[in-house]
């Protein structure tokens, strides 16, 4: 009945969304945004033993204008925060952020005057990666999860719809302090 039957063999049909997601996820260009200890583990992930090249991610771009993934690797200080936002703004859309390590995710052990308590105060974060610093395997896992997220992301009207739904859900969500249960 459908279009499929009229096609010659050897063709594969998919949605534009899936095709775009597949293409996007396979060539993510991370910006070098090494800040502290996590940056060393990020470099290790790119080097021989862990070999990020297997996922098409080994080319760390020096210029944010050529990058679409920002791996915030390390603690973000109050002095660095405006710079970080500027680099993020310079990256072309669509762009993603991995917050690598506890310091970038929540301030971690440095709960003090100098450190921004979570990079999500400055830029929207797609993946939070715990660990101090996270092992290279953990970073790769975060990247694979991000690939999955990119693959399933929506386009056009659907993207707007998804964003609106996410916002509504976030507004309705129960604040952490009001949740009951174990300290988890």
């Amino acid at each position: 009945m459908g279009l499929e039957e009229k096609l010659p063999s050897g063709f594969l049909l998919t949605t534009v969304e899936q095709a775009a997601g597949w293409v996007r996820k396979a060539s993510v260009f991370p910006a070098t945004f090494g800040l502290a200890c996590c940056a060393i583990e990020m470099m290790t992930t790119g080097a021989g033993r862990y070999d990020l090249a297997r996922f098409g991610m080994e080319v760390f771009r020096g210029s944010p204008r050529q990058a679409d993934l920002m791996i915030v690797a390390g603690r973000v200080s109050q002095k660095m925060a405006p710079v970080l936002r500027q680099v993020y703004d310079q990256m072309p859309s669509p762009k993603w952020v991995i917050s690598m390590g506890v310091c970038a995710s929540s301030g971690g052990m440095f709960n003090n005057y100098a450190i921004v308590q979570g990079v999500d105060h400055i830029v929207p974060v797609d993946i939070y990666l715990p660990g101090c610093p996270p092992r290279p395997e953990m970073l790769m896992d975060a990247i694979l999860k991000l690939h999955h997220k990119i693959q399933t992301s929506k386009l056009g009207v659907n993207a707007e719809e998804a964003a609106r739904e996410a916002e509504e859900a976030a507004l309705k969500a129960l604040p952490t302090i009001e949740m009951k249960g174990l300290l988890r």
């Binding site: 002095k79 709960n111 003090n112 005057y113 100098a114 249960g181 300290l183 988890r184």
Partner: protein, 258 residues
């Protein structure tokens, strides 16, 4: 032994240090935490036994008052090469027409280290002498460390320098103090250019103004930052952390036992 100048204003007059311990009669008293001699600088007064400072006193030790003092001035001989350095320094200062007693406030020997407390007016002259005198030759300055003692009235801000002599293989410590109301210390950059960033750092964190520094600006904090974050009266600045059904206050807001 007692050095009125260094004691500040808070010397207890009765000799019993306000808590019933008389160091002259009680032989073990010198080993108590707050009792390392009665002549050092008083940096804080401890009340109670356990240091818990919020909530009511349930321990019964709440009336206990002890003064915490840093190790006090030492008398000759200091031991080892300390005497040699002190002699040379005093001699060299005299040669320049300075009175060593005016420049060197006191000398403290503690834990195998010697500290010369220098009057801030004489700091540059003393450092220059220490660097250039062939018998002293402290070529390397390892920077300045600021310390804030809010309890040490009139001498709140201290700048601590460690000088290393590669020729003679020695390390000494210089310490100068400045009151909070007049936080000025002469800069050592003309003598030790390495102190450039170190003095900027100390200015940034403690508000100590190093007179004569070529460009005394903030180095670590953003240029428009208010306050000097590593002073004791500056809060740590942490925020409470939320968990499910619980909130943990920042480290400086918690009950402390120190």
């Amino acid at each position: 032994m007692s050095d009125a100048k260094s004691n500040g204003a808070n010397t207890p007059g009765d000799g019993a240090n306000g808590n019933g311990v008389n160091p002259e009669k009680d032989l073990g008293a010198a080993n108590l935490p707050g009792m390392r001699g009665d002549h050092g600088e008083e940096i804080r007064v401890q009340r109670g036994m356990f240091g818990a400072n919020n909530g009511g006193d349930t321990s019964g030790y709440g009336g206990l008052v002890r003064s915490v003092r840093l190790p006090g001035a030492a008398t000759r001989p200091y031991g080892g090469w300390f005497d040699e350095v002190a002699d040379e320094l005093e001699g060299a200062l005299e040669e320049q027409g300075l009175v060593p007693g005016n420049a060197i406030e006191k000398t403290v020997v503690d834990r195998g280290e010697v500290t010369f407390h220098i009057e801030r007016e004489y700091l540059v002259a003393v450092a220059q002498t220490l660097r250039d005198d062939p018998a002293l030759r402290f070529e390397l300055c390892t920077g300045v460390s600021g310390v804030h003692y809010p309890g040490d009235k009139g001498r709140e801000l201290h700048a601590v320098y460690h000088l290393r002599s590669i020729t003679h293989n020695r390390v000494i410590r210089l310490e100068v103090s400045a009151p909070d109301a007049d936080p000025h210390v002469p800069s050592l950059v003309p003598v030790y250019p390495t102190n450039d960033w170190h003095e900027r750092e100390t200015y940034d964190f403690f508000g100590l103004i190093f007179d004569g520094h070529p460009a005394l600006t903030r180095i670590m904090m953003p240029d428009d930052w208010q306050g000097f974050p590593q002073r004791k009266d500056y809060p740590l600045g942490g925020i409470p952390v939320e968990y499910k059904g619980a909130q943990i206050p920042a480290p400086d807001q918690r009950r402390s036992y120190s």
